[in-house]
Amino acid sequence: MDLLIKKATIIDPESDYHRKQVDVQIREGKITHMADEIEGKDTAVFEVPDLHLLPGLMDVGTVVGDPGFEHREDMYSASKAAAAGGFTALACYPNTQPVVDSKSGVRYIKNNEEDLVVNFYPIGAVSEKCEGKDITEMIDMYQAGAVAFSDGQHPIQHNGMMMRALQYVKSFDGVILNHPHDISIASGGQLNEGRISTMMGIKGIPNMAEELMVQRDIYLAEYTDSRVHIANISTAGAVEMVRKAKKSGIKVTASVPALNLKFTDQELLNFNSNLKVLPPLRTETDRQALLEGIKDQTIDFLTSNHVPLEEEAKKLEFSFADFGAAGLETAFLLSWQILKEEVSLEDMVRLWSRAPREMLKITLPTIRPGTLARLTLFQPSIPWQVDPKRLYSKSSNSPFTDEKFVGCIRGIINGRKSEIFDR
């Protein structure tokens, strides 16, 4: 595509144009020219107030649903929703039907990605059918394009299998992602265990259900000298464990869902099933610890924790509703709303663009002439209000129905493809 972007502030510490306001010429998917003033001849011009260009954002651990659960989200709707949320790349979980546990599953995603505006990076399953019993052909999947391995929404319960998986991926310096959630401790829990769950008379999920597994995965990473990513942590204790592990040189990274930076279990007192998520919303102490972990870089990156679900699975009595919230379209803006007083736009680029790619060893996009245009178009100070009718995810389980964000995503440019929204 050809486009002339006018008066854009570049946010890319790797670029000579960092923090400069310039015009950017894009031809055939590449940045061809950047200068104070470029004359627009025969090309479309894009000019909006307060425009910032960020290296394309990436979400890790997106639940798509294609194949098998296309009524929730197919690759097309996920791609559209991702673009609306500012993402140019998704590393998607293998929790499809069938599970992505062989190279054919990986290839299904790579083949279908070609026509879409967003890059899809498959995360292969660690165990066959994500059943937690036997490890999959991970080398084969890696060769076919899998960027990491995880059982996604099925946290790995078996210590020995987790250990062998970590050992096995060392042959190609792979990384295992695991949600820390011990099912035998959490058993039947529906929300954070504490005063709120006690008042609601509902079985809670103790912090320990998460922390036991965080500590286990840290031990196993140390023992195997392999790379583990502790996905979507939510407790103060987990942040502290990761902090200590990093200090002692263990190859551990960690992420936090944007939603857990915003809400606490207090929000659930009225049995709001739209905020029934995993990891569960914890207490204010935990939330503050997550924010602290972001500031001191214990937390490597943030996630949308996007779990699309149909209304029939959510508009139910609290304990009957499924876990999960749609997050792709709001996660980045939500985190900006919460963090903007505390972190810079450079930090936002690290949290949402650089760190996920560094972990997955994917080429980092940079904003300079001669490179592929892989850009997020962002207006940090322009307000934007969520309109549920104009969300692109197929599922309607966004916890935000009319939230007003300060910050507006205008779209993405990803090589020859782009998606720009009229907002």
Partner: protein, 318 residues
């Protein structure tokens, strides 16, 4: 029955959503109704133009009969619905079931449901006045009100009184509603049972925890003994009923060791020989059957007071 006072809410979803003034108003109204149901003619015409649906998605005998009697003594029109004979098994959602029933012009819904918060969920989506007749392990507000009402009859003003709740606190909606209700009335509450059946964070509600039955009995003025909810225990929380009865059951010998008489209560149905021995259940200290009688009066009071809100809403919509 002239009464200009009103409840602060249009539903009774749980004790935590009502005020101490609401509780007093319910008790004052219930005293009048208790007198009514002891008359030769036990019926008043107060709810003549009100239709009530009793929706029981979970088994119940006494609560259901108690509500139905209360409704009939107030002359309401009553329809009953139970899960075993319903469309629930055909996969209909709660919302659809209730909306279907409401389309037949029902004013009030009395609902028992296995999911905590189901009445709140309903209240967010439908217009009728809802009375929670027990929602999973969350609340059972009418039981707590009749319990506190019965306690007051025995020991007077509950302020500063010691109430101990024994048994399966973890799986009990009665315990939670009792705690909220008794605290609102100024009582001190202690829970006692095996540690696996006591919610870990119960102390955050201002409740003391005691694992020794003897000590809890010596402390309390009233002992409210709860049933072991075997049907809600998906895993083993204690090894055997035999051991439970031996170490956590209330028997005559324990009561004889106390230096003062205490009031014995149980919301029923009782497992004789498990949480309570027969000689305790049938003793003079036990007010188990008075609780049942008061249950009808309390439910009449709640229906009566909420029906006032229905009439008010009707006036407004005219």
């Amino acid at each position: 029955m002239a009464n200009n006072q009103q409840l602060s809410t249009k539903h009774l979803l749980g004790i935590k959503y009502i005020t101490a003034e609401d509780i007093r108003l319910i008790f004052d109204t219930a005293k009048n109704f208790k007198e009514v149901i002891n008359r030769p003619i036990k019926k008043v015409p107060s709810l003549r133009d009100i239709t009530i649906a009793n929706l029981f998605f979970e088994n119940s005998t006494r609560t259901r009969i108690s509500f139905e009697l209360a409704e009939k003594r107030l002359s309401a029109d009553v329809v009953n619905f139970s899960a075993s004979s319903s469309s629930v098994k055909k996969g209909e959602t709660l919302l659809d079931t209730v909306n279907n029933i409401l389309s037949m012009k029902v004013d009030m819904v009395v609902m028992r449901h296995p999911a905590p918060g189901a009445p709140q969920f309903l209240a967010q989506h439908i217009d009728a006045n809802i009375i929670n007749a027990g929602d999973g392990t969350h609340e059972h507000p009418t039981q707590a009100l009749l319990d506190a009402f019965s306690m007051e009859e025995q020991v007077g003003d509950l302020r500063g009184k010691h109430i101990a709740i024994f048994g399966d606190i973890l799986h009990s909606r009665v315990a939670l509603s009792n705690i909220f209700c008794l605290q609102k009335l100024g009582a001190k509450v202690k829970v006692c049972g095996p540690p696996t059946l006591i919610p870990k964070h119960i102390d955050t509600l201002g409740v003391e925890v005691e694992y020794d039955v003897k000590k809890a009995l010596a402390w309390c003025d009233v002992a409210n003994i709860l049933r072991i909810q075997l049907e809600r225990q998906d895993i083993k929380y204690f090894p055997s009923l035999r051991e439970y009865a031996q170490y956590f059951g209330i028997n005559k010998k324990l009561l004889d060791q106390l230096d003062k008489p205490i009031v014995i209560m149980h919301p029923g149905p009782i497992n004789r020989g498990v949480e309570i021995s027969s000689d305790v259940a049938d003793s003079d200290h036990s007010i188990i059957l008075q609780q049942v009688e008061n249950g009808v009066a309390i439910r009449m009071a709640i229906l009566f007071l909420l029906a006032a809100r229905v009439s008010e809403a009707r006036q407004k919509s005219k």
